[in-house]
């Protein structure tokens, strides 16, 4: 058996160790190759969204968006006026008012459409699935998967699609979960432990399992996912409500402004026509943000789904943006799942090569991650110089009396017997006994090295040999340590910049924990942590007014997941953990929490940026419309026409068209989200104010002027 020196493939590690730790092949920040790319915004998607956009014009739907509802009412009123008094200007303005409403619903339809394809394929995955239910008397019955009830027992064999969510109570199987995760490599699911849950719609590839159904009909994981990607389960989040309050009050202010303008202007004999007043109103109320709010929300959820995270509500996504404390499990999140060999230290008088070769030999048959890491490190070292890449097979062919010595709790050592030569590696005390019993001694420098490594939080392993001539000696020390994943330090630094504290949770003793905490650069750590300790940390942080996020997968994590403000369960975790959490990570990647925080923030920033942009736009619109309305009565007001717009009709029309087109122009930004960077709040505020505040002030002056240049060419208006 030859072992490559690369890291083990994800599934085999899960298969081999079943240690509850997720596969560790990905470095944080690395992009996932199977991330579902969002549909491009092109003519096809717009065409597909158009019928939906028209359907959304129904007043019953529009009333949920008060700003756009006002536009709808205004457009309807103008239409009636045009029917009685048709005029080119009135008809064109009215048409653009309708387009304004339509662009709003279109943006929402496009956002929804992006999830639709995914929802359809999810639906297809369950279609016609039959379930083999085991009845109480032991007999089997076949029923449609959708008829399954809670606690039904279902048998699934190779080739079967698992009919609903459940927990394996018997057996082990490899399962293809690509329908939900997009990951084609199969994963292992088995009864007992933290990898017992299966999801409806996934496919058993081998073996046979007995599954107890844990989901109510219609409330399975896939059902939730379908609703989520379709944007069907959107309740307004607190921030969204607060924003609506602001938008509605702005709308009221502008309703008052335009409605009182008629009598006030009548004093000067310059009463604007109703169509012009509606046009002014629509230009002033925050239509840009009002139209795009639903699309921004749907796109935010969609971004989560693209990262393979399912949230139970939009609220959870928003809360993620507010998180101030992250509780991270050390193992699997901050460090690789297992301890790895990081150094060989030969005893006095022993050559480096001698130790490395012996350590490698002693670990060849050791399938534990620690053992394999020793072989890997030895191979890495030898590739830089010495050559001893013997494989176990090669060795057994040349050395017929090869015997593998397995690790036992008694001996606490493992190794190889090569004829009379016995090579062992193990805990310091065990190896010391092995050597002294054979007449050897424990060298003082090794003793010292062992203490040093322990003090650093590492695990020292000794390598010893008992040669043919009865000579027993310690060859040296192997340093096993937790290896902090590359890039974690920078990531925590980033989090600190945006005001998030990281707390590492570990079962290690405080000395080890402190060393790793310092290496990884977390702000705080909790050593020898029990589930109760986790709860205490969460309560303490929350008591101080902080918002806490954590990941977990085990059943004993469930209370803490429920107590945390954002609890992310690993998809590989137990149903109890998934039930308690408000998000499920389909990739079971604990570092995902960091991305989730970013997505939450991006959602808010996009809303804030477009709100600022929308309100700032009004200044230019006033400078277009007010002189257009009143220059005839008061020629001096022509000085306010700083854009030099051609005629009153062209000025008003330009403002209305700009107002409509800007919605369409900002759809891609709403869907993509404003770029989010990990910088301090002050920097982010300064940058976004400049871009969207000042930009929002200036952009419409340019846009309206350009439109006016074109429109003024139209006879009868220009």
């Amino acid at each position: 058996m030859t072992r490559s020196s690369s890291a083990p493939a994800a599934d085999t590690s899960a298969l081999t160790y079943g240690d509850g730790n997720p596969p560790q092949t990905r470095t944080p920040g690395e992009h996932k190759h199977h991330t579902k790319a969002p549909a491009k915004l092109n003519a096809a998607t717009i065409n597909a969204a158009l019928p939906v956009a028209f359907a959304k014009l129904h007043p019953r739907q529009m009333v949920h968006s008060p700003v756009m509802f006002v536009v709808l009412v205004g457009a309807a009123a103008c239409t009636i006026i045009c029917l009685f008094k048709p005029a080119v200007f009135g008809i064109v303005v009215t048409a653009w008012l309708w387009l304004t409403v339509l662009f709003g619903t279109l943006s929402e339809a496009i956002a929804e459409g992006r999830g639709k394809a995914q929802a359809d394929s999810l639906r297809a995955s369950r279609k016609g699935v039959m379930a083999r239910v085991r009845l109480e008397d032991g007999s089997e019955k076949e029923i449609p998967g959708t008829d399954l009830k809670l606690n039904d027992l279902v048998i699934c064999e190779a080739g079967d699609v698992i009919p609903s969510d459940g927990e394996i109570i018997e057996g082990l199987a490899s399962v293809d979960e690509s329908t939900i995760t997009g990951e084609s490599a199969p994963v292992i699911r088995e009864s007992g432990g933290d990898r017992s849950s299966v999801t409806g719609g996934t496919k058993v590839l081998s073996d046979r399992i007995l599954v107890r159904i844990t989901a109510e009909p219609g409330a399975t994981f896939i059902d939730r996912m379908i609703k989520l990607v379709e944007g069907a389960v959107r309740q307004k989040t607190p921030n969204e409500i607060a924003l609506h309050v602001l938008l509605v009050s702005l709308t009221i202010v502008f309703l008052v402004v335009t409605m009182t303008l008629a009598p006030i202007a009548s004093l000067a004999g310059a009463t604007p026509s109703p169509i012009v007043l509606v046009a002014l109103l629509v230009c002033l109320i925050p239509t840009t943000i009002g139209a795009l709010v639903p699309a921004i929300g749907i796109a935010g959820m969609d971004r989560l789904v693209q990262h393979n995270v399912l949230a139970t509500s939009g609220r959870a996504v928003e809360t993620a943006g507010d998180i101030t404390t992250l509780l991270l499990d050390k193992t699997g999140t901050i460090t690789y799942g297992n301890r790895r060999a990081v150094g060989f230290y030969p005893a006095a008088g022993i050559g480096q090569d001698q130790l490395v070769t012996a350590a490698r030999l002693s670990s060849l048959a050791d399938e534990t991650p620690e053992g394999r890491s020793i072989v890997e490190l030895a191979d890495h070292d030898s590739s830089n110089g010495s050559s001893n890449s013997t494989s176990l097979e090669g060795l057994s062919s040349t050395t017929p009396d090869l015997a593998i010595v397995e690790f036992t709790a008694m001996t606490r050592m493992s190794g190889l017997d090569l004829g009379g030569r016995r090579i062992r590696k193990g805990a310091a005390a065990a190896v010391e006994r092995f050597v002294t019993e054979a007449g050897g001694t424990m060298p003082a420098d090794v003793q010292q090295r062992v203490q040093e490594i322990s003090a650093q939080g590492g695990t020292p392993l000794l390598v010893a040999e008992h040669t043919h001539d009865g000579d027993a000696r310690v060859l040296g020390t192997v340093h096993l340590a937790d290896v902090v994943k590359p890039g974690m330090r920078a990531r925590f630094e980033e989090l600190r910049k945006i005001g998030i504290r990281t707390v590492m949770i570990t079962g290690d003793n405080p000395v080890t924990a402190k060393a790793i905490a310092a290496e990884a650069g977390v702000d705080d750590f909790l050593a020898e942590a029990t589930p109760e300790d986790k709860m205490d940390v969460i309560r303490r942080e929350q008591g101080e007014g902080r918002l806490v996020a954590m990941t977990g997968d085990g059943t004993n994590d469930a209370p803490a997941l429920a107590a945390a403000d954002v609890g992310v369960a690993m998809n590989s975790g137990t149903p109890a953990a998934k039930e308690a959490a408000n998000m499920v990570d389909l990739d079971s990647d604990p570092t995902k929490l960091i991305n989730i925080v970013g997505i939450g923030k991006q959602l808010l920033i996009t809303r804030g940026a477009l709100t600022t942009f929308s309100v700032a736009n009004d200044v230019a619109k006033y400078f277009a419309i007010v002189p257009a309305l009143f220059t005839a009565a008061f020629p001096g007001l022509g000085m306010l026409n700083i854009m030099g717009l051609a005629t009153p009709a062209s000025a008003i029309l330009s403002a209305v068209i700009f107002n409509a087109l800007i919605i369409l122009a900002l759809v891609p930004l709403a869907l993509r989200g404003v770029k989010y960077r990990a910088v301090s709040a002050t920097q982010a505020l300064g940058r976004n104010l400049l871009l969207y505040g000042l930009g929002g002030l200036v952009a419409p002056f340019i846009g309206i002027k350009l439109l006016d240049l074109i429109i003024s060419l139209i006879p009868g208006i220009g």
């Binding site: 009221i252 009182t260 507010d322 939450g600 940026a609 007001l637 976004n688």
Partner: protein, 555 residues
């Protein structure tokens, strides 16, 4: 009259230095007044007589009910006693006041507006002046201050529904703060030449040998609290343009100083109470920047009108006091409209159109730079909440203001607050424009006619009290409409602010982190400034265009 830029700059510099010197000690003193737990002996006697349990704090709704009850009783008493003036002593022989005027005056003084729809010397005697109107000058100012203090307590406190005791606060504001300051100010004004006597009339022999009767009275004492409490109700019809109220440039500047004194020191008190003076400095900085910009704009508008043909015709002379000059008048006009004072030393109606527009714009800002006593601070803090909400969204975090989350409820209250005055002003202006009889009260015609009406309702709804004098406001319609505007413009915002304070006090405090949007510093300050200006501009631009801009922009 020569407009001197140097004179403007000198006066502004003197004012700013004087205010800078006193804002810290006064700010600290006000903090002590409202956070100290001990009552003085006379206060304890007073509480026992009034049946106030000084040890009990009130929830926001009880605090609000106390404000409303106190104000309602005040309005009724003032109304009734004005009506009974004829049978009361100290009437100077004047009869009971007309019911519409009495109603308007009662509301006006209780709401800290001091809109005067009457000529005081011809309408009210010494009793009404001293025992009703002067007392209200103290109390209405005190009410504004204590509401601001209650809001600060809401921000500072956590996990409680208690905001303090209105009766204790108002007693302390009156006796420990306003009374001593007013006493000192009155003496200073007397030294400056303001009259203070109890002679019902004063007979002056003019050079021509004709004798003239000029009413006197306890002017200096009333003048002091008129400006100190940002009230503005003058002893004489001419207000601070009257030589007995404001004899020279020095008293004029001193009055502006008194107008700005408490509003500009309150941010320091705020910074001290929240335990972060940067917060106070930022608020003060924004107020100061607005004040400076507006005063400069006013001076420019006055000066540029002087440069036109009107000067040649002596146009700028009309409405201005020769004694005071255009520089002092510009500064006074800007400060009186940026606060809720409304005292005038120049006829605002006679200001050049654009300068009149600046006066209106100042009030339309919501009188927050630095605003009325207390009301300026709470107005600015509400705007800061709107600003921090936008800022929070822009950095991707639920907004927090000084450790308190700005959720839907806080946002609702803040948004309603900024809705109140624009709605009142525009709706009343719109309705009035539809009533030819009502418009006839302002006979000017053209855009100036509308300006006079717009000014009246802006002044009323913002509780300013200054007026474009060309309008007749003693009739039933204008009296009543302004009365409603003053009442709603005062007490709706107070109700919303106290509800906001209650809502903030209930919350836990959130620790500050690098992810928190700082509500101090130049960046937040400029955002707050922009929000204030843009919100105002968006609400009033069309109305201003049809009034002062239509009149002032001549091609």
């Amino acid at each position: 009259m020569v407009f001197s830029a140097a004179s403007v700059i000198t006066q502004i510099a003197v004012l700013l230095v004087a205010l800078f010197l006193v804002h810290k000690p006064l700010g600290i003193y006000m903090d002590k007044v409202f956070t100290g737990s001990r009552s003085s002996k006379p206060e304890r006697v007073f509480y026992r007589l009034a049946g106030v349990d000084a040890g009990t704090e009130q929830s926001w709704s009880v605090y609000l009910r106390s404000v409303l009850a106190f104000s309602a009783v005040s309005i009724l008493v003032i109304f009734a006693l004005q009506r009974l003036q004829g049978v009361l002593p100290g009437s100077n022989g004047l009869p009971g006041v007309d019911p519409w005027v009495a109603m308007n005056t009662a509301i006006s003084f209780v709401t800290n507006t001091n809109w005067q729809t009457y000529a005081p010397e011809a309408t009210v005697g010494i009793f009404v002046q001293m025992c009703l109107l002067a007392v209200q000058n103290f109390l209405s100012a005190a009410v504004g201050i204590v509401v601001a203090i209650a809001l600060i307590r809401g921000i500072v406190r956590a996990g409680t529904d208690r905001l303090g005791n209105f009766w204790v606060d108002v007693t302390r504001a009156s006796f420990r703060l306003l009374l001593p300051l007013a006493a000192v100010a009155a003496i200073a004004l007397v030294i400056g030449g303001v009259v203070q006597n109890f002679w019902s009339t004063d007979v002056t022999n003019q050079a021509a040998g004709v004798s003239q009767v000029i009413p006197g009275g306890p002017v200096a004492s009333q003048e002091a609290i008129k400006v100190l409490g940002t009230n503005g109700g003058g002893y004489f019809n001419a207000n601070s343009a009257h030589p007995f109220e404001n004899p020279n440039v020095f008293t004029s500047l001193f009055q502006v100083f008194l107008i700005l004194l408490i509003p500009s020191a309150l941010p320091y008190t705020y910074g001290r109470m929240v335990g972060d003076q940067c917060q106070g400095f930022t608020v003060a900085g924004v107020m100061g920047a607005l004040w400076l910009a507006s005063t400069a704009l006013m001076a420019w508008a006055v000066a540029s009108a002087q440069g036109t043909a009107t000067t040649a015709a002596g146009g700028l002379g009309e409405g201005f006091e020769q004694r005071l000059g255009p520089a002092a008048s510009s500064i006074f006009a800007a400060s009186t409209t940026l606060t809720s004072t409304g005292a005038v030393n120049v006829a605002h109606d006679s200001l050049p159109p654009l300068a009149g527009g600046v006066a209106m714009l100042n009030m339309m800002l919501g009188e927050v730079a630095p605003g009325g006593t207390g009301s300026g601070l709470y107005g600015m803090l509400v705007l800061a909440i709107i600003a921090v909400f936008i800022a929070g969204l822009m950095v991707g975090r639920t907004p927090e203001f000084v450790g308190k989350k700005i959720g839907p409820r806080e946002m609702k209250l803040a948004a309603l607050y900024i809705l109140v005055t624009p709605t009142l002003v525009l709706v009343f202006a719109g309705i009035t424009a539809l009533l030819p009889d009502a418009m006839a009260n302002a006979p000017a015609g053209g855009p100036h006619q509308f300006s006079e009406m717009l000014y009246a309702f802006t002044s009323g709804a913002n509780n300013n009290g200054s007026a474009f004098g060309g309008i007749t406001s003693s009739g039933p319609y204008v009296s009543a409409a302004l009365g409603v505007a003053m009442l709603l413009g005062r007490f709706l915002p107070i109700a919303l602010v106290l509800a906001l304070a209650g809502s903030l006090a209930r919350q836990r405090k959130i620790p500050v982190s690098a992810g928190t949007v700082p509500t101090h510093g130049a960046l937040f300050g400029s955002l707050l400034l922009s929000v204030t200006v843009i919100m105002t501009a968006l609400s009033y631009f069309p109305a201003l265009a049809l009034g002062p801009l239509a009149e002032g922009l001549i091609q």
